[in-house]
Symmetry: C2
């Protein structure tokens, strides 16, 4: 087809040059390999094989191994972000915003052991890779800010920060549990856990709405 038609199509389908498609395939392949092999066992050949390509092509699209896995982390981060913002868009009250963040972080197709394993491997490299650290930082800042946007309406001003920290830590911890002992915590359990935490902390220094 002629150029302008293709261009129009590209704009409609959101900037998918062929190279962009390949890059996405490779990022995802990288992440998939990470799920099974961990950072120590993740090799360029395996990534290439998983994407049905040759090792050469991987280094054609990414300068080196580091860059590849940085992009893999960005991808995963984006997926998580989208899950939350989708829910966040439909939230009207502060409480709904809180629930959006919580539910989003434990979505069915996200809260899974393999995904957690890969994420864990990436986190383990954060101290040695500035880029990974930045991605991590952004992710955490976003989560915190999303939580605060809900908490400001519900918690005492001085406590919102602390509760937000607790919630993020609790969520991370539940993910970690899932990764370390798959099956030891269900999606519903995790969600209830975090929501109970929020409820308990909100009620804590409140004028006793208990037993009413």
């Amino acid at each position: 087809m002629s150029t302008w038609i293709r261009n129009a199509w590209m704009e409609a389908v959101k900037l998918k040059r062929l190279s962009d498609i390949r890059r996405k395939e490779l990022r995802q392949a990288a992440f998939a390999v990470l799920e099974r092999e961990g950072i120590a066992g993740a090799t360029l050949e395996k990534v290439a094989a998983h994407a049905g390509a040759s090792k050469g092509i991987v280094l054609h699209y990414f300068r080196n191994k580091q860059e590849l896995f940085e992009h893999a982390m960005r991808e995963a981060n984006a997926v998580l972000r989208d899950a939350v913002v989708a829910r966040l868009r439909q939230a009207r009250t502060p409480m709904e915003r809180l629930d959006a963040v919580i539910d989003g972080n434990f979505e069915e197709h996200l809260f899974l052991p393999p995904l957690c394993h890969a994420w864990l491997s990436l986190c383990a490299e954060v101290p040695r890779d500035e880029k990974l650290a930045r991605i991590q930082k952004v992710l955490h800042a976003r989560m915190r800010s999303n939580l605060l946007s809900g908490l400001h309406g519900l918690a005492l001003p001085g406590e919102a920060d602390e509760i937000a920290l607790g919630v993020t830590a609790l969520i991370d911890g539940l993910w970690l549990r899932l990764g370390l002992e798959p099956g030891s915590v269900s999606r519903e359990q995790a969600i209830r856990q975090v929501k109970d935490f929020v409820a308990a902390r909100l009620a804590m220094h409140q004028p006793a709405t208990v037993g009413a």
Copy 2:
């Protein structure tokens, strides 16, 4: 010195054959390397160098790399365990037992980024190493049991389990935070976070001890 004297001495100083000493040195060296290099960059040569020995000696005391790092994890696990049981021995009330577990998990010389980095790297390999998984499992079971021994006196029977899960997850999550962004959470902050969590969850469905 003659054999029986040496044996007596050994018993007094707790079974330190020369080989045991070397093995301990090497486990610790392995852990130290893990702190700096992560699982991907941790090599036998580096461990040997850090212990001031040759690579050969490492494989003389440990069948292979895997076994070495399994023992490194056991070592770290033991250190954490000892920190908690020491405090646990002095605890008289259920609440004191809870605090013992919490404080023990955030001890000054334990709650440090490098240690957390190493631990994180080991956790990331858990899904691919049965032995590591078992150590992890034991550690978690112990922590849970310690918590329950305190909670049974304080929480509703049906809730103790869930609170224990929450506490372990929260503790893990706070450690993770420390590893991902050193300085983003202080020891005191972490302790307060967990204790507030316990307090809030215990007060939650209680006959309103609030505002009294």
